[in-house]
C-alpha cells in the first residue's frame, strides 16, 4: 500500500516529509479537526511557529531570507507537506501563507511594511487571511463590491470582500483589488479602524471563513499585475489539491483496513469481487489524483507555461472525484460510515469545502474547455 504522494523522493525530500509526519504524530493531541474555535490560541500560535521551523512557510519565501525548497521542485516539496497535513487534517493557513510568501517576493522595493510581513510569515509569527473562496484561475479579477481610492494622501478601501479563510494567527488580510486597469494585491492591518471582519460558519468544523467590510481602511500595496495573480492562483490550486489528495489517501488506508478485517457471511468484505473491483477503481482514482498534482508541481519548475493548465486539470478532476471517492469509502463502511463518531464525515467536510475553494470543478472545466474550443477554431 503506497501512502506517498510521490513514490520517488530524494533523501532530502524524505527527511522533509518524515520530520513533518513525526511532528504531526507527536502533537496530535494538540488540535481537534472536529473542534470549533475554542482552542488555546497561544498554543496554536506556538505550534504554527514550530511548523514554520520544519519548512511549512519557507518554500516560496525569498532565497535571501532563507527561503526555498529542498529540491529543484519547491512546489512539489510544498505539496508533500500539504499532503501529510491533509492526511491528518492539521490546522493552520498552509496554502494562504504560501500565496503570501510568493506575493511578498514580488513586492516593489522599499516597502518596509511588506518586509515585516514577509519576515513574520516566514518565521510563523503571523499570517494573513487570503480570499481562497473568491479567487482562482477561473477568476483573475477582483469582485465588483470593492473599490480603492485616494483619500487623505493614502489608498483606502471601501466595500466588501468575501471568501477569506481566517486563522487565529492573522495580523491582517491580503487580497487583490482593481487599481485603474490592473489588479494589485493589498494588505490591510486587522487593527485598522476601517476594517470589520465577519467570520461565518462552515461545513468544516475547524476552518473559519468570512467577509471583510472596509470603510476607509488603509491599503498597503504588495504586488501588482495579472501575471502575479495567475502565478499565485496556480500555486494555491496545486497545493490545495495536494491537501485534498491527502484526505483521500488517509480514508483510502482506513477503508482498506476495514475491508480486510470486516467479515460478512463468513468471509472478509475484501474477498467479494464486486467490492474488489470497485476498490481497484478507487485506487486508480487516488493514484490518478496523486499523479496530476505531482505533474502540476513539477511543471511549476520545468515548464511554467503549462502549469496553469495542469493546475486546472487537477482541480477539475480532484474536486469532482474526491467527493465521490469519499462517499464510496462511506458506502463500504455501511452504517457506521454515516455516524458522527467515525472520522469519515470530518474528511468529507474538508473535501466539500476544498472543492469550493479556488474555483469549483465546473469553473475549471470551463477554463479548459475554452482552451479546447479556441484551439479547435485556430
Amino acid at each position: 500500500m503506497t501512502t506517498l504522494l510521490e513514490p520517488s523522493l530524494s533523501p532530502d525530500q524524505e527527511l522533509l516529509v518524515e520530520s513533518t509526519r513525526r511532528f504531526l504524530n507527536d502533537t496530535r493531541g494538540s488540535w481537534e479537526p472536529r473542534g470549533t474555535f475554542s482552542v488555546d490560541l497561544d498554543h496554536q500560535a506556538r505550534w504554527w511557529r514550530e511548523g514554520a521551523e520544519l519548512g511549512w512557510t519557507s518554500m516560496f519565501a525569498a532565497k535571501e531570507r532563507g527561503g526555498g525548497g529542498v529540491s529543484q521542485y519547491p512546489l512539489l516539496d510544498a505539496c508533500l507537506l500539504a499532503y501529510e497535513r491533509g492526511r491528518q487534517l492539521a490546522p493552520g493557513p498552509f496554502v494562504g501563507s504560501a500565496v503570501a510568501a510568493l506575493l511578498y517576493t514580488r513586492a516593489e522595493d522599499g516597502q518596509p511594511q511588506t518586509d515585516v510581513l514577509a519576515r513574520e510569515n516566514l518565521a510563523g509569527i503571523s499570517t494573513v487571511a487570503v480570499p481562497l473562496a473568491s479567487m482562482g484561475l477561473h477568476r483573475l479579477y477582483p469582485g465588483p463590491d470593492i473599490e480603492m481610492r485616494n483619500a487623505g494622501g493614502r489608498s483606502r478601501l471601501f466595500g466588501r470582500q468575501s471568501g477569506f479563510m481566517f486563522s487565529s494567527t492573522d495580523t491582517g488580510v491580503l487580497f487583490p483589488v482593481a487599481e485603474g486597469e490592473q489588479t494589485i494585491w493589498v494588505f490591510v492591518d486587522r487593527g485598522d479602524s476601517g476594517i470589520l471582519v465577519e467570520p461565518g460558519s462552515s461545513l468544516d468544523l475547524q476552518l473559519e471563513f468570512g467577509t471583510a467590510t472596509f470603510e476607509g481602511a488603509a491599503a498597503v500595496p504588495v504586488a501588482r499585475g495579472d501575471e502575479v495573480t495567475r502565478h499565485a492562483s496556480t500555486l494555491a490550486t496545486v497545493l490545495l489539491c495536494s491537501e485534498t489528495v491527502g484526505l483521500m489517501a488517509q480514508m483510502f488506508d482506513v477503508t482498506s483496513t476495514w475491508l480486510m478485517e470486516r467479515r460478512s457471511f463468513g468471509r472478509p468484505l475484501a474477498s467479494y469481487q464486486a467490492l474488489k473491483h470497485r476498490w481497484a477503481d478507487v485506487r486508480l482514482l487516488l493514484d490518478s489524483s496523486r499523479a496530476i498534482v505531482v505533474a502540476g508541481a513539477r511543471a511549476w519548475s520545468d515548464d511554467p507555461a503549462s502549469a496553469p493548465r495542469l493546475a486546472s486539470a487537477a482541480k477539475s478532476y480532484i474536486s469532482r472525484n474526491s467527493l465521490e471517492m469519499l462517499q464510496e469509502c462511506v458506502q463500504l463502511h455501511g452504517g457506521i460510515g454515516v455516524t458522527w463518531e467515525h472520522d469519515l464525515h470530518v474528511y468529507l467536510r474538508r473535501a466539500v469545502v476544498n472543492s469550493q475553494l479556488l474555483g469549483e470543478a465546473e469553473a475549471h472545466a470551463k477554463v479548459l474547455g475554452g482552451e479546447v474550443v479556441a484551439e479547435a477554431s485556430s
Partner: protein
C-alpha cells in the same frame, strides 16, 4: 554496436535535429491514421530509414543495437513524429513487449532478434489467446511436441493483432500435458514464414481487419526457439503481461507511439467536428469538453507517475495494470463524448465525413478488452497490488489432459 549518434546531444538539440530530419525525410500524413494498411515491406522500409538516421531503438541498450538513451528522447521523437507516416507496428508488440522479455530471459542468439527489429528486418506478433480462452491465457491447448532438437506446433491462436504483416511470432504452447494447467507451458519464438503456418484476417465491426486467426499444422520451431526452460512458459507469460500492460497504457520507452496527450484519444473525426463548429459551443458543451480534457491530462500524468515509480523500484511492476485499466476507461468516455458531439452526423451523413466517429464507437469496447480486459486489471490490481483475497477458481488441480 551501432554508432551512438546522440550521446553528446541534449533533449532540446535532439528535438531540433529530429524535427528537421522528419520534415526532410518522412512523408507527412494529414491525420496519421492510415497506418493500419502498412504491410511488412512498407514497415521495413520505414524502419530502415529511421535506423540509418540513428532514430530506431533510441532507448534500447547499445549491446542489442540501440542508442542507449533516456526515455525522454523517445518521447521527443514520438511527439515530433505525430504528423508523419511512421512504422508504429514494429514497436507493438516487438520492441515494446517482446524485446523487454528477451532482455530479461533470452539467450544470446534470441537477443539477436532485437537488433533485427530495430533494423526493420523483423516484425513480431504475439500468439497467446485461443478461441477457448482469451483472459484465461494459461488454458492454452496449442501443442508443442518435441521433434529432434526442436519442436512441432499444432493448434490455433486468435486475436493476433497484425499477424498478417509479421514474419516472426512469440507463441505460448503446452509442452507437458501431465502437468496441471499453469505448469506445463512453454514460450517459443517461431518463424511464421513456413508452410505449417496459415494466417487469416478477422473482419471487425467497423470493417477493419487488423486482427487474425493463425493456424499451426506441424509448424517447426528450432531448439534455439524456446524462451526460458521447457515448462517455464507461464513465468514468461506473466513477465510478458507486465510489459504489455505498461506498453498498452503508454508506458514503454522503446516504441514509436502516437501519444499526444491532446490528440491520442481524440479521433481525427472528433477534431474535424470541433473545427467545423466554428467556435459555436454552448456553455455545457464547453464544460464537458474541459472536464474530459482534464481526464486526458490526468491520464498522461498517471503514465509518468507509474512508470517513474516502477522504474525506480518504488512501485511494483503490477502497478502497470492501472495504466491499462485507465486507458480503457478513458477511451470509452472519450468515444462516448465524440459520439454525443457528432450527434446525427455519426448516424447519417451526406458524406463519409463524420461517419468514422460512429464506426469507432462500434468497436469502442475493443480498447477495454484487448491487451487484457479491464475486468482482469481490476482483479490484478485488487489482488496483487492491494493484497485482497484471490478469487476461488474452478480449475482442475491435476494434469491438464484430464481437465479438458
Amino acid at each position: 554496436m551501432p554508432e551512438l549518434r546522440w550521446k553528446d546531444s541534449t533533449p532540446d538539440r535532439f528535438r531540433r535535429d529530429v524535427r528537421l530530419w522528419f520534415s526532410q525525410n518522412m512523408s507527412s500524413l494529414e491525420d496519421g491514421w492510415g497506418y493500419f494498411e502498412q504491410d511488412n515491406d512498407r514497415l521495413r522500409e520505414l524502419v530502415a530509414r529511421l535506423y540509418d538516421a540513428g532514430l530506431s531503438g533510441l532507448c534500447i541498450p547499445s549491446q542489442y543495437g540501440g542508442q542507449d538513451l533516456d526515455p525522454v528522447y523517445q518521447r521527443i521523437l514520438n511527439a515530433e513524429a505525430l504528423d508523419y507516416e511512421m512504422p508504429w507496428f514494429v514497436g507493438n508488440p516487438g520492441l515494446g513487449i517482446i524485446a523487454p522479455l528477451l532482455m530479461q530471459h533470452g539467450t544470446g542468439h534470441q537477443l539477436g532478434h532485437i537488433r533485427k527489429m530495430i533494423q526493420g528486418k523483423t516484425v513480431f506478433v504475439q500468439l497467446m489467446s485461443e478461441p477457448t480462452g482469451g483472459s484465461d491465457m494459461a488454458g492454452a491447448r496449442m501443442r508443442a511436441d518435441p521433434d529432434g532438437d526442436g519442436w512441432k506446433l499444432n493448434g490455433q491462436k486468435i486475436w493476433s493483432s497484425g499477424a498478417w504483416r509479421s514474419n516472426w511470432g512469440l507463441v505460448l504452447a503446452r509442452t507437458d500435458w501431465t502437468q496441471p494447467k499453469h505448469a506445463g507451458l512453454g514460450m517459443f519464438l517461431v518463424d511464421l514464414e513456413q508452410d505449417g503456418v496459415e494466417v487469416r484476417r478477422i473482419v471487425m465491426a467497423d470493417g477493419s481487419d487488423e486482427f487474425c486467426e493463425v493456424f499451426f499444422t506441424d509448424a517447426v520451431v528450432t531448439g534455439a526457439g524456446l524462451v526460458g526452460s521447457r515448462n517455464a512458459g507461464w513465468e514468461m507469460a506473466q513477465t510478458l503481461l507486465n510489459y504489455e500492460r505498461q506498453a498498452v497504457g503508454g508506458g514503454s520507452p522503446y516504441v514509436f507511439e502516437r501519444r499526444d496527450v491532446n490528440r491520442g484519444v481524440t479521433t481525427p473525426g472528433f477534431r474535424r467536428l470541433l473545427k467545423a463548429r466554428s467556435g459555436q459551443f454552448s456553455t455545457t458543451e464547453v464544460k464537458e469538453l474541459g472536464a474530459s480534457e482534464a481526464e486526458v491530462a490526468v491520464a498522461a500524468a498517471l503514465i509518468e507517475w507509474v512508470t517513474r515509480g516502477v522504474a525506480n523500484g518504488k512501485l511494483p511492476p503490477i502497478a502497470g495494470s492501472m495504466l491499462r485499466l485507465n486507458s480503457g476507461l478513458l477511451t470509452e468516455k472519450r468515444l462516448g463524448l465524440a459520439l454525443k458531439f457528432a450527434g446525427k452526423q455519426a448516424a447519417f451523413s451526406s458524406s463519409e465525413e463524420h461517419l468514422d466517429i460512429g464506426a469507432s464507437f462500434l468497436v469502442r469496447q475493443a480498447s477495454s478488452i484487448g491487451g487484457g480486459t479491464v475486468e482482469m486489471q481490476r482483479n490484478l490490481i485488487s489482488e496483487r497490488l492491494l493484497g485482497m483475497p484471490r478469487e476461488h477458481g474452478g480449475d482442475h488441480k491435476g494434469p491438464y489432459r484430464d481437465a479438458i
